[in-house]
Symmetry: C2
Subunit: 393 residues, 2 copies
């Protein structure tokens, strides 16, 4: 079997995003043992840097040894015991998955649904809290990667405090691209993924627990059904003095995360958020000039993930295939009921640049002109350029 | 925060082992999307290569997106339903953990115990099978990393066939260092880790399921309690034509595994097993010359993990600290009841070389002479050299 030489790709899908050469290089650092004092220092650094991006002082802020989906499962299996009720906002793939995970650990999921592409109205959560008996937690997806909807978090955090219930937030796609303010929004459990706006390879799930959530975990009646994701045990390795062996930490991935977080720190969070918003605005202007409308209503559109409805006269799968094969550009298709109906364009972390926006719009225009669904060349590029010009002046 | 520059380390502990520069370099390959046809080809290659090291034709042979402990959990949560009985061999940390995982998914664990360092006698498993009602599975640790015991597998595989029960084998530390013959030994579920004898960084768990196990999973009465590790869902991504998105694959880690498995293929499994045995023999000869006796009886000692009892006149923790700080050599201490009583020396994969054996023995001799528990220098090196000479002639 030969050495693997990957084709050139511009990653503008729903993740993974482009990984900075410094992060790629960090991964090839020789390994240390997972109990080596020098490696424990790496873990401490990661905790410090993660607290900054989560805007939290939570002592329990770590990276779980699995992808964002492992972070989702960890949130639920640690907090929810059999019979517990969890209110889950369901307006896309990831809310649907959250509810499934609740049920797989013996919890009762109360689904508060909204059409895909729309947000869950805080009033609907409030109504569910009022009509339900005791609720262990409310779980919401901050950035619904399957629809591009940007869920308001802060008002629901307030409701959770009022109703004395825990608040679980999926920030897989949002962390590092828009503010995820764990402490200010009263979030008790927040998990993310590394391969989105942090621009680190996939494989880890940044994860933070409030002291309130930690106390709930420590006073469970039943053991956590997952041994691998049991945060009461993992605390002994990540956050307690004893640094007790639980499982072997994914050393190289943690090297990568440390370097990716250093890059975030160097840019600064406010600049990073501004960059994501600007490039997204330009992309949306360009796509709209081509007749592609974002699925979520204005005001609820994520900057790092733009989900546009593809008109029926465009063969969406064929265009994606051409983008990949001819231009080396990856964008995402639709999931579940949106399959065949939408494109999902990610501008996440290192992938979120002016050059990439223009490169994609140009490729789409070329394909559209060849296929006959665009008549006048340059309209998308022009619309994007106008957006950039407005912001630069 | 500064760039991380690791201290120089020779990894001779219970894992991670030294990672070959080609594998480190593979990890810094630019990323592809997890649904990119070029990446799906990487997954296919990994399956092909893993089937070779597992000596199996199992179609369901994959790498789980978590460490070896995730592989253990996946084995149990997929096969065991509430109320199912599992016979577990318990003679160290990992057998103990297996039994815990069985109980955490509502199974009944029948523990067949042996003193730490000893194997589980197949007769004891047979007796347990005879006196128990219906048994869903027998679970054994092939290479007990906490004690260095090498568990016979083949006779238990036969018993499982006779008693029509599934056979689960933990091959975390054995895979790639001694034969793990899944098909020939009648193993239904086998999981491993990447950071031991495969010399890939930690973070993935090679995992294989027989058709019989897969059928049991597909006919469960209840859904698997873990969504993240649900092999019925993961099959759709790894082994079925539809390649349906489940969770984002850890791309860079899979690049690393592919390259690590290519190195295994280049060396050839028989040569690799011989190398592990020879260096282990030399190490044991050297350690015994220093008065350190392997914990397991002769005939049941793993080549890749040598666990020796440290006499009371040697301050084991102080020696390990000196090895790390003065010589940059990591070896492992004892876990659980063996804490403070043993050293665990790993000669795994790339770490398993003649040079490393001599380097460690020399360092131990220097420390022992300085501390007064060795009187005549060179005895350990001499004993190791004799072993190498015998084999080279």
């Amino acid at each position: 079997m030969q050495e693997f030489l990957p084709p050139r790709r511009l990653l503008l899908g729903p993740g993974p995003s482009t990984v900075h050469p410094r992060v790629l290089s960090a991964m090839s650092t020789p390994l240390l043992g997972h109990l080596d004092p020098a490696f424990l220092a790496v873990m401490n650094d990661i905790q410090t840097l993660l607290r900054q991006v989560f805007a939290t002082t939570n002592r329990f802020t770590i990276a779980i040894s699995g992808t964002g989906s492992a972070g989702m499962e960890a949130s639920i299996v640690n907090l929810v015991e059999p019979g517990d009720t969890v209110i889950v906002g369901v307006n896309g793939v990831f809310g649907t998955r959250l509810a499934t995970v609740v049920e797989r650990c013996g919890g009762k999921a109360i689904r508060v649904a909204a059409p895909w592409g729309h947000i869950i109205e805080p009033e609907a959560i409030e109504a569910a809290l009022q009509r339900s008996g005791p609720v262990k937690a409310v779980a919401l997806v901050h950035a619904e990667t399957s629809t591009g909807a940007w869920q308001p978090i802060e008002p629901v955090g307030k409701l959770c405090r009022t109703h004395n219930t825990l608040f679980i937030v999926d920030a897989v796609t949002s962390l590092g691209g828009v503010p995820v303010e764990v402490d200010r929004c009263g979030i008790d459990v927040c998990y993310s993924g590394t391969q989105k706006c942090l621009s680190c390879p996939p494989g880890l799930s940044p994860f933070t627990l409030s002291d309130r959530a930690l106390s709930v975990i420590k006073h469970r009646r039943t053991p956590c059904q997952s041994w691998y994701l049991d945060m009461a045990l993992i605390a002994d390795y990540w956050t307690e003095r004893n640094r007790a062996y639980h499982h072997t930490a994914p050393i190289s991935m943690l090297y990568a995360l440390r370097e990716a977080l250093r890059l975030v720190e160097e840019e600064g969070l406010p600049a990073r958020y501004t960059r994501h918003q600007l490039n997204s605005d330009a992309l949306v202007a360009g796509l709209m000039a081509l007749g592609l409308t974002p699925l979520p209503p204005a005001g609820h559109r994520l900057p790092m993930l733009t989900c546009v409805t593809v008109p029926v006269h465009i063969d969406e799968a064929a265009v994606r295939a051409q983008l990949l094969e001819t231009f080396g550009i990856e964008i995402g298709g639709g999931l579940g009921p949106l399959k065949g109906n939408v494109w999902r364009v990610g501008l996440m972390g290192e992938s979120c640049t002016e050059t990439n926006v223009l490169t994609l719009l140009n490729a789409l225009e070329e394909i559209g002109i060849r296929s006959g669904w665009i008549s006048s060349p340059g309209v998308a590029l022009q619309a994007a350029a106008r957006t950039y010009n407005r912001s630069h002046h």
